[in-house]
Structures are given as C-alpha cells and as structure tokens.
Amino acid sequence: MAKLPYLGTALTNLFRKPVTIAFPAGEAPAAQPAYRGRIAFDASKCINCGMCERVCAPSCMTRVAKPLEGGEPGDQEITFTFDMTSCTFCGMCADFCAKKAITLTEDYMMTGIIAEDFLVTGKVIKKAPPKPKFTPEQLAAMKAAAEAKKKAAEAAKAAAQQA
C-alpha cells in the first residue's frame, strides 16, 4: 500500500459522485470574480482620447475615422475595433480609460470560425467644433486698426502737451 498511495482513494472514488462540471451539455460555469474576459466597449462614454490605443501592447485595437454622413462638414465617425484574438487581456486599456468606457467582462467563451466572431466594435461620433466669428486675418486687421487708432490718440495727446 505504501507504494500505491492512491489505491484507497481510487476505490472510494468509485462510490462518490464525479467532480466533473456539466459544461458541454449544461450551462458554462461563471468565471471567477475579477476575471478579465471579453472586452466590452461603451461607445457612449468614450471621449476618443486614444489613450487605450497607446497603452495596448499587442496593438489589438484599431481606430478608423471617416467623415460622418449627413453631419456637419468636419464631423467624424470613429470606429473602435477590439480584436479578441489579438488581445492579451492585460486590462491596461480599461485602467487607463478616463471615462471607464472600456471594461473587461467575465465572458471567456470566445470561439469562432471566422475573424468577425472575435471583433468587439463601437462607433464614436466626433463633432467638429463650432465655427469662430472672425477669421484670423480679420482679427489681425481689427487689431492693427485698433493699434493705429491708439497710436493716433497718443500722438494727438503728445501734441497737445507740447502746445
């Protein structure tokens, strides 16, 4: 028996219930708390700061910007694509996201046949800022006019003192 330490265990195991989970037939068990699984991207929170792309080691995300259709000229639609087959699930993007737009969920069941099965995408619309009233030239002209006016006034003032 000394040389076969598991003999007793094995024989008693015969009369015990198996410890196997029901999974392929039944429900997949939940992952442990704080498991870092599939990325969830909340586009509404994103401010398109780009920090996530900057900290991602395997560069698993892409940002594609294109002009927004039907928007103001200069408005952009930015597509965030997170490729799960490329991700290391390190969580850096979530940590650095100022607005908590990126979170790592507990969903680990990531199997697929084509690349599209693994993509997490989100679209952010970037509005062009409102137009200013004067162009820089106008501003400069206005500034120059004001300065000329000021100079003229000073000159008039100096002439009055001398006289």
């Binding site: 196997t20 290391t88 046949i113």
Partner: protein
Amino acid sequence: MLFNLDKKITEAIDDAASKSLWLYHINAGSCNGCDIEIVAALTPRYDAERLGCKLTGSPRQADIVLVSGPVTLQSRDRLIRTLAQVPEPYCLVTVGSCPCSGNVFKGSYAICGPVDKYRHVDVSVAGCTPKPEAIMAGIAQAAAILKEKRRGMHE
C-alpha cells in the same frame, strides 16, 4: 448492396467520427500557458474524454490538431511538416491568441505567424490563455465541422 449496408456503415462511421476525437497538440513556440490549459481540459473537473477526446502522440492518428503559440521562425517548418502528415479529414484548432494573430509578439523578426497564412484554420479559440471550458467548446465546434467535412467527402 444488401439492405443498404454500405450506407449504414458509412453513417455509423460518420457518427463515430464526431464522437471519437483524438487530439494532437503542436506547440509552435507557445509560452506553455495554453498547453497547460489543454491538459487541464482532460482533468477530472473538465473531463474532455466525455467528448471522446484522447491525446495521441503522433499526427498520423489525429482528428483534431491543436496549435498553440505564435509560429516562431524555428517552428514554422516543423508546423507545416507535421500538419502535412495528418490524415484527412481533420480539423485545425488554434488555441489562444498567439496562433491567430501573433499577440504581443506580432511584428517580431522571429515570428512567422499567424497560422492561417499556411493552412486553413477551422476553429479558433481566443484568450490569453483560454479557459479549459472555452477549449472544450472549440473542440465541440470542431467536431461538428469534422462531420460536415466527412459528409463533403462522400459527395
């Protein structure tokens, strides 16, 4: 033939093919994380043997080839050679992020991946590392594909 016997035998074989899945595992420069999870899928808690899985030692007997690792320069020829030696029909399953994309190693001078540059990948399991449940789900998906492939062979 008598009582459609040949058809019945073919059906029985097709049926058996999706219930007996022998795995051959190729490490194409993996960090061993995924390898451990593959073995974990065979442990009592997950028990992939329920699906008929068994690890074999030779590609000649494999039905499902599991590839892990980003396909390094050293392992590229070996991977291709081993895949060439697997008898048809078989399924190629990549385990983890590396064989799909190269993961953090992407762009290195020593990486020749991803795997689908060389062979059609049937099922990919993403994760770094994937959990054993995910690997089993991938194997189950591969079993379905294997059945389809076999049906395709008959036609």
